[in-house]
């Protein structure tokens, strides 16, 4: 990389052949490079998933539109959901975790570098396999290409009878294989965090991102696996004549739902937990205060990890479970909102009494706080089962979860990008472009997702390729689609910023933000070995202790 090579006047630096560079990247086991591979992979699929969303929004600009056929539209929402969850959100979060966790805990690499690389390539291959379905999906009866069964792939729609051809199999096998990659990375992260912390860093001194990563990884172990089990059962049904979900033979469609959502709900907590970690690192630095209530934040995170495993059937309030079962899932779903709310209050408490600096990472973090609050509250609405009987499977739910995923996760990710890009590349991202990106994205986000709640309230279900005129949905859908285009422009500005700043950005130095965790104690980008000698620490903010020897945290630890 450019920053690795020192410039000596009068010396011609030989640029290495690109084949050699490519080979290095393909065979790397360095956690930092693997992290960047994950992030780059996710960005490519973010654009692809965004194109799929754009196609849908064009089709839904007005009622009875004919931009794409129903078959294509159904593939679009299936691929959009599957792509964004498994090939954008998971990889980008694993990418950041890969890059940052060893640095933050004062280690030289992950516990198992080769497993790390293997997990990445497994995930990468599975994404390509999923997209190969566009070309190769016309199987046995020449039916369909990309999967079109929705990203939940409900039974019995996925049975051979209703989904002939191979499109569903591409979904099943790709996500299954990618899941194994995720499990590998989760094992690696847990082993790294538990077994490779530098001296002095007992668990109560780890950065919150490390805590949230270990909880998230523990969740991955026990939630990706039920999905894998269900997918194996689906393959048995489709290819070995099994009857797991064969309602004609006494199999249960609801059983797939249970197994899927036992994965599906904790999955969204898996996605948000690292984002809580990003916010918990960024807000303190830009408020110039330590995180408010570190032990409570840890406890709340662990509590969320556990309780989120008990809420899954709130996705199934309409399938006809008994009133007692419904009530159980109401209380657990509302309960999980409590530690989540506490976290918001703690971030607020961090900002309170601080000295807030409105650099781009903080702008995205503040927007995250507002938006995640709203998302959580619409979640509470949906947790009230009878309210959900009306709102479930409508555009209100689509608005809610996009509020969490875009308004929460993506905003936190943008904050993370602006905050740690200097560490990864040695250059600052442009603040001006950052602010354009931020404001355009905020406007587009709210235009789309605030408005989107309304068609849901007015009875518009999700996963429909067109809708009837005269139901009052047309204008709202038009606004939603316009907001999507604005978000697209903002993303393009962001991508341009990423690329242009690599060459033209201001040099960052070790610690451009005056931060306090160990990754800022080494160069930007760090050398392959991370630290010349492994740090020994005495508090949660080792760099604060160094910079403020008169009032170190270690005094209070």
């Amino acid at each position: 990389m450019a920053a690795d090579v020192m410039a000596f006047p009068g010396v011609q630096v030989e640029s290495r052949p690109w084949v050699e560079i490519l080979h290095e990247w393909v065979t790397t086991v360095d956690h930092k490079r693997i992290g960047i591979l994950y992030i780059a992979y996710a960005l490519v699929f973010l654009v692809i998933g965004g194109i799929e969303a754009t196609i849908m929004r064009i089709q839904l600009l007005h009622s009875h539109n004919h931009f794409v056929s129903p078959q294509v539209f159904n593939r679009m929402f299936t691929m959009h959901g599957t792509t964004m969850i498994f090939y954008v959100a998971m990889p980008v979060l694993f990418g950041f975790a890969n890059y940052l966790v060893p640095l933050m805990i004062g280690a030289r690499d992950m516990a198992f570098p080769r497993l790390n690389a293997f997990s990445f390539w497994l995930m990468a291959f599975s994404g390509l396999l999923l997209y190969f379905s566009f070309v190769g999906g016309s199987g046995l009866y020449g039916a369909g290409n990309a999967p079109d069964v929705g990203w939940w792939a409900y039974a019995p729609l996925t049975a051979k009878a209703f989904s002939p051809g191979h499109s569903s199999d591409y979904w099943t096998i790709a996500v299954l294989v990618g899941g194994f990659g995720s499990i590998g990375t989760a094992i690696n992260l847990i082993a790294t965090i538990l077994c490779m912390r530098c001296p002095g860093m007992h668990l109560g001194r780890m950065p919150l991102l490390a805590w949230l990563t270990v909880v998230m990884s523990g969740m991955v172990l026990i939630t990706l696996t039920p999905l894998a089990a269900a997918q194996l059962m689906l393959l048995v049904d489709r290819y070995l004549g099994g009857h797991f979900f064969d309602t004609q033979a006494g199999g249960s469609a609801a059983l797939w739902m249970h197994f899927f959502w036992i994965f599906g709900h904790p999955e969204v907590y898996i996605l948000i937990l690292p984002c809580f970690g990003f916010i918990s690192e960024i807000v303190p630095v830009f408020s110039r205060k330590p995180i408010f209530g570190y032990p409570v934040m840890v406890g709340a995170s662990v509590f969320i990890g556990f309780v989120s495993m008990s809420v899954w059937a709130h996705h199934m309030f309409t399938i006809g479970m008994s009133s007692y079962a419904n009530s159980f899932f109401v209380i657990t779903s509302m309960a999980v909102g409590i530690p989540t709310g506490i976290k918001i209050f703690n971030w607020l408490g961090t900002m309170w009494g601080g000295r807030i600096l409105f650099r781009t990472p903080m702008l995205f973090s503040i927007a995250f706080l507002f938006q995640f609050l709203i998302a959580g509250l619409t979640g509470i609405m949906l947790a009230a089962a009878p309210f959900d009987w009306q709102l479930s499977n409508s555009y209100f739910v689509v608005a809610h979860f996009h509020y969490v995923i875009v308004g929460g996760i993506i905003f936190a990710l943008f904050a993370a990008f602006y905050y740690w890009y200097p560490k990864m590349t040695g250059r600052m991202l442009s603040e001006t472009l950052g602010k354009w990106h931020f404001w355009l994205f905020v406007i587009g986000f709210h235009a789309t997702f605030d408005t989107m709640h309304i068609p849901g309230v007015l009875g518009m279900p999700r996963r429909i390729y067109t809708y009837e005129p005269g139901r009052g949905w047309d204008t709202m859908n038009l606004i939603v689609s316009i907001g999507a285009f604005i978000q697209g422009i903002a993303i393009l500005i962001f991508v341009y910023n990423l690329i242009a700043s690599y060459w033209k950005g201001a040099l960052a130095g070790n610690d451009p933000w005056d931060a306090w965790t160990l990754e800022w104690a080494t160069s930007s980008p760090p050398p392959a070995y991370n630290f010349a000698s492994l740090p020994v620490i005495a508090s949660r903010r080792p760099l604060w202790d160094l910079k403020h020897p008169e009032d170190p945290d270690s005094r209070y630890d």
Binding site: P70, Q71, N74, V149, Y154, P156, L157, F162, T247, S252, A253, R288, K289, P290, F292, G293, Y294, T318, I319, G320, S322, S323, V330, I331, M334, A335, G337, I342, I344, F345, N346, L348, M351, G353, R355, I356, I366, F370, L373, L377, T378, I380, A384, A385, P386, W389, Q390, S392, N393, V457, L458, G459, P461, R463, I464, T466, E468, R471, G472, Y556
Partner: protein
Amino acid sequence: MAASCAERVAAQPSIFAPESTPARTIFGLSMFVLAITGLIFVVVFVLLVYAILRFRGRAGDRGREPAQVYGSTQIELAWTVVPVLIVVVLFIATARVIHAVQDAPKPVSALDVTVIGHQFWWEFRYPKLGIVTANELHIPVSDPGRPAPTFLKLLSADTDHSFWVPRLAGKTDLIPDRVNEMWIDPNHAGLYVGQCAQYCGTQHAKMLLRVYVDAQPDFDAWVRAQSQPAIQDGRVAAGRRIFETTACINCHAVRGTPADGRFGPDLTHMMSRVTIASGAALNTHENLRLWVQSPDAIKPGSLMPAMNLSDGDLSAVVAYLETLK
């Protein structure tokens, strides 16, 4: 009958304009939940905005770090206890409504309708009245003083579906090999629209619902008309012969004739319906002809095959169908 049905303007769907007890009960709960979550939002929003404004970094204090506060047990306790209390209150309110709607006893005066979801149409059977129809549900209005609710038994012939008419009730899914139940008791006559709310395949979007709530006399008249076997009109014998000797009768039923297929909608009184193809098109001559000739032109991906009839045969069949009033 068809003319007066067509005249009725569909009330735009909205979960906040309930016309039936389940929808109304849910509406009450949702207002309560909205009020509480709205209050929480206002409080936290104000605090956030205040914090951003009050504690923003000013040029003057560069280099001076604010007081490094690590936390406060009392504050943590306070903002834990309050949410717990809110959750308890919300849960109790919610549980009461769940029981009120799901465990409501079924009065003797209830009308029974069995709803069977198909890819991509609705079958309605009235077991005690001996009627079978499709896509457009007729039920009597229910006077709050003398309730006459309709209890729906929900089944599926293939994949998952969901019955959702927002003004009348929350949705309930139709799941193969499972029997679900829901009930509605609309207080005002009118037309209420909805559609399938669980993705069921290619034409999920066009599995539309029209619920005609009739005043009791109108409903009785409708029942009487639907109970009759199909009208026999000698003038369309040619079309009827084509209908009964090609594959049409494998899927469709016309009561009083040899046609008794169950895969597609019952056509005995299809001309009493305002729409065809489960709401995808109005029941006009042009649409009907196009539908029979090439279903994919109206509903691409529907499971009705194009029969490749010659023009003459097509006209004859359509003429026959148009006598099934």
